[in-house]
Symmetry: C2
């Protein structure tokens, strides 16, 4: 397997490396990763996404790349690009026989493959690399924070105490690993009924503001529940989503 | 650390052992685990829950047991019981200094602790043991299916393609490990607006029926989005939830 120096050498040319994490699954981490990538790509940046959620890869589906394969040129992986904005995607799914195949791997296997993919991919021309991390604070986030000097991490949460409590573990992990927290994205903040226009706070209300104050960080965005998102995600057309929830995001 | 025989010996007295898994995080696996436990406890069964989601334990919060500790008697762990129905809970959270402390463990550590807790807990008198599994198909579900002869597994999903695709990996894992699938619970099926009574299918519609047909399994329950659930979960009072979504569940 590859050495940490080989990983560092391979990713040296990338200008910015950030990770999107949560600790809690299902809060919309992959969706936020895709929307963040889209916002940066629309400004003319060259963006790549590393779908590091090996056990539940969903980035390929969002971009309609379910059936892509990884090509090799001059001994390095060449990443497929999204249809409209040319966002490059690296996902374990491109190495699986079928997308329904479970990756039933123990931790050490995940670490080895992650470092392999980082070292053997051609990252030339990439301005931003965004890592979509799996839920939890286990092997994948740990390996990443140890192998890669991240410029920052974006934390995704939903507006309730239970989720905030688990997301706090991810915040504390980032602090322990001296990784800069760029801010919090609160997702599924409320639901606006399409029939009568009333708002319902299904998962709770404004809990992320408290979390942000406690840790002295910024709330980057509050994204409401939007039935268009699962619909266009299922159709593989996240690039057609018009709203930009990250117009001022930069660092 | 303990041997597989010691684990088998310790859990031998438990009548039924089932796991609740999903593959995808945030679909409501812990909530469904708690509601299933409640349904069985209300029928007079003695129920225990093993919160095997080490990186994001949420069962203690649901039952208002955030500040519980594990006691030891005659060299074995004695589990705390819930206030109203005496549901016993085993969670890594009871061993952590604070609930915001992240468990930043690699796979092998999780496996060791899991087998330790199974072997060293006093399970006498327990009719049903329900495992709440973490998202993914990694170390924890793998260890469980190898160490414990499960009577069955309940799969939790939400009504959209992306989630179904990842949940399918969990279904295939159960098949690979010869673990019987008891059925599918579709959660967050729709939202009924409290103001005008109209239904919105925020995450999609009826996708789980297709999944169930494809694998020849039953849909055990379809649970709508209910703002009471996050509210009473945050308050630690899941036992006060009146609706029983599992009246006919038995095996
Ligand atoms: N703001 C939102 N409104 C509606 N659905 C959303 C929103 N954000 C995410 N979703 C949906 O919720 C589910 C979980 O999102 P996903 O990005 O896969 O979460 P994670 O990566 O945290 O597991 C997906 O079906 C996705 O389409
Ligand atoms: N049917 C439901 N209606 C409303 N909120 C729900 C429902 N099921 C779960 N939730 C909420 O969704 C979040 C995720 O649920 P949880 O049980 O923690 O999922 P998982 O264990 O799959 O990560 C929690 O805030 C929970 O309160
Ligand atoms: Zn309405």
């Amino acid at each position: 397997s590859v050495t940490p120096e080989e990983v560092q050498e391979s990713i040296r040319s990338i200008k910015r490396k950030i990770a999107v994490m949560s600790g809690k699954g299902g809060v919309g981490k992959s969706t936020v990763t895709a929307l963040l990538a889209l916002s940066l790509a629309k400004r003319g940046e060259k963006v790549a996404i590393f779908d590091a959620d090996f056990l539940g890869p969903s980035i390929p589906r969002l971009f309609g790349m379910d059936n892509e394969r990884l090509n090799i040129s001059e001994g390095r992986f060449v990443l497929p690009e999204s249809r409209i904005y040319g966002i490059r995607v690296l996902s374990i799914q491109f190495l699986l026989p079928e997308k329904e195949t479970p990756v039933v791997w123990r931790g050490p296997m995940i670490i080895g493959v992650m470092n392999d993919l980082l070292a053997k991919t051609d990252w030339r021309g990439v301005d931003y690399l965004i890592f979509d991390l799996p839920p939890g604070t286990g092997d994948a986030p740990l390996t990443l924070m140890q192998s890669v000097r991240l410029d920052g991490v974006v934390i995704v949460t939903s507006p309730n105490d239970l989720t905030s409590m688990i997301v706090e573990k991810a915040l504390n992990m980032a602090k322990m690993m001296n990784t800069h927290v760029l801010g919090i994205v609160e997702n599924m903040s409320y639901f606006q009924c399409p029939h009568c226009g009333e708002r319902s706070y299904i998962f709770g209300e404004k809990k992320s503001r408290r979390l942000a104050e406690k840790y002295g960080i910024e709330v980057i965005a509050e994204i409401p529940l939007d039935p268009d998102l699962p619909r266009i995600a299922d159709a593989g057309q996240i690039e057609s989503y018009d709203l930009d929830h990250f117009p001022d995001f930069s660092f």
